[in-house]
């Protein structure tokens, strides 16, 4: 059985179908890239999985248990953690508190020292351990992204959803970021990542799914997907028509 199964997930906003009957699945320990041009419905799909938006129809299952109709906090509790395309940190809380909350309110419900230890482990994984008591409002952009990732990790999730986590980094930071995600993947974490940076996708994801206008147009090995005429057409326009 797959760890995460997306089964004909559909999301309609009035007359607009943002996600249109998308189906694919993730195996335990897999790292899967979710590609597609802007507006193709990638973030909406992530929002459906994490419960930020309710699905119009279809089903999403984690370990065979349906997540459809559940609230975001219940889905987080079930073992799904995510980062946001536009980074979201809690500016009035310390780094430690920012990260601790998923350990406290997530599946494991840690409290006291256990919660702090979990948060500290997550902070050290992203390289922020020495600033645990600092205020999150004072962080630079890259550190805010790190903090967000640490928060997702402290949930000790079964599935990690990364929504363009590598966007906006300079080349050095990008190399660090790719190394960090690779490390997480190698430690056995299952990851679904939305990403526009092909260098990162090639380096990290053996397999990708590609969306265009809300539909899935490819689900295959990364190299063949990037040479797939339908994928190229989605990104660059259809050359046959020109």
């Amino acid at each position: 059985m797959s760890l995460l199964t997306i089964d004909k997930a559909t999301k309609k906003f009035g007359g607009l179908t943002a996600v249109d009957g998308v189906s694919f699945s993730l195996e335990q320990g897999e790292i899967l890239g979710l590609l597609g041009p802007n507006g193709s419905g990638k973030t909406t799909l992530i929002n459906l999985i994490s419960g930020a938006l309710p699905m119009t129809s279809g089903d999403i299952r984690l370990n065979g248990v349906s997540l459809a109709g559940k609230r975001a906090d219940q889905i987080a509790h079930a073992g799904v953690a995510r980062t946001f395309q536009l980074v979201r940190i809690l500016p009035s809380l310390s780094l430690m508190e920012n990260v601790m909350i998923t350990a406290v309110f997530g599946a494991k419900s840690h409290w006291g020292q256990a919660a702090k230890d979990t948060a500290m482990t997550a902070l050290s994984r992203v390289g922020l351990a020495n600033r645990a008591t600092a205020n999150a409002g004072s962080l630079t952009y890259i550190d805010q992204k790190r903090l967000e990732l640490a928060r997702a990790l402290a949930a000790e999730p079964e599935v990690l959803l990364l929504d363009e986590w590598l966007a906006g980094l300079n080349p050095t930071e990008l190399a660090q970021g790719i190394a960090l995600i690779r490390e997480l993947s190698q430690s056995g974490l299952t990851i679904l990542m939305v990403e526009h940076i092909m260098e990162a996708v090639r380096a990290l994801c053996p397999r990708v799914v590609v969306m265009n206008s809300g539909s899935l147009i490819a689900d295959e090995a990364t190299q063949s997907a990037l040479n797939d005429p339908r994928v190229i057409a989605a990104y660059l326009g259809d050359s046959a028509d020109a």
Binding site: G51, A52, D73, A76, S92, A155
Partner: protein
């Protein structure tokens, strides 16, 4: 250390009526009442940033429970019922409104106080027959003071406990970002509702305890929106996010308002308005945070 200081301070405060004049005792009751109101208000509104103007809805409802029941049952029983009424009201209101964001919640909470005032007015005129009621309970001013002091101590103690609990952490996360809160596994509705009900129950009890001072009540007197506004200013002035902030804001402002309303009754609302503006401009996070900020600034200069 604090396990000694707090009980001793509380005992000293409880002993004040033995030396205070009647006038001073009256002032003390008012002061402790506002310490309770501001602290209870901040229990919910401080960390979540949901600014509630419904304080007087609960405070007034508490007074009305006493007014309606004081001839038919014993006082302790009335207090129990008051707590139940406050919690039930908060539960119903909370379930229907806590998903409102920002300014919509402010407006709703303000409207709630007005709604309850009108409902009670309607009930009194059409069903009870007359608009006013008398409260005759066998409780002295000292008795009121001790009860209110107890309630204030419970409120601050409970806030300290909540601050260290999961609930307190959840409320602060909710205040910063509800989307992050939900995605971290925090059940938003349940957490907000718990804090709102606790806060409202205390506000309602405060109204019941203070009510014998009125002797005569009618909706226009009891549901005075100024109570809600004063509570907000006091909590913000001291710092709504700090344990002792609301209390430290309530004491000086209560005394200032007492003085001004006694000596300049006509222009007193002008001071109130000016103070509101001043607090928001000068101490957006409260005086305590302002002082800390100044200190930190100086330290950084010297460093």
């Amino acid at each position: 250390m604090k396990y000694v200081i707090y009980p001793v301070a509380l005992a000293l405060l409880a002993a004040v009526p033995f030396v205070a004049s009647d006038y001073a005792l009256g002032l003390l009751i008012g002061m402790v009442t506002y310490v309770t109101l501001a602290s209870a208000w901040a229990m919910f509104s401080g960390p979540t940033h949901y600014v509630s103007l419904a304080t007087v809805a609960f405070y007034g409802a508490g007074a009305y429970v006493v007014a309606m029941l004081n001839e038919v049952m014993a006082y302790p029983m009335i207090l129990l019922i008051t707590a139940g009424v406050g919690a039930t009201m908060a539960l119903v209101v909370g379930l229907s409104t806590l998903r409102l964001a920002g300014v919509y919640f402010v407006i709703f909470s303000f409207g709630l106080a007005e709604l309850i005032r009108q409902l009670i007015t309607w009930y009194e005129i059409n069903i009870y027959g007359t608009l006013g009621r008398y409260i005759f309970v066998d409780i002295t001013a000292r008795g009121i003071y001790w009860q209110m002091l107890g309630l204030a101590a419970i409120t601050i103690g409970l806030t300290a406990y909540i601050n260290r609990s999961r609930l307190g952490l959840a409320l602060r996360v909710i205040g910063d970002d509800e989307v992050v809160a939900a995605h971290s596994g925090i059940p938003l509705a349940r957490m907000k509702l718990m804090a709102f009900v606790l806060s409202a129950t205390i506000l309602t009890l405060a109204g019941a305890i203070a009510s014998p001072r009125w002797v005569y009540v009618e909706p226009a007197i009891v549901f005075n929106p100024t109570v809600s506004f004063l509570t907000v200013i006091m909590a913000l002035f001291g710092g709504a996010n700090r344990l002792w902030g609301p209390a430290l804001g309530a004491i000086p402002l209560f005394l200032a308002f007492e003085y001004l309303s006694a000596h300049f009754p006509d222009v007193y609302p002008i001071f109130l308005g000016a103070l509101f503006i001043g607090v928001v401009f000068l101490f957006p996070n409260g005086v305590l945070a302002g002082i800390e900020g100044l200190r930190r600034g100086k330290k950084e200069e010297t460093a």
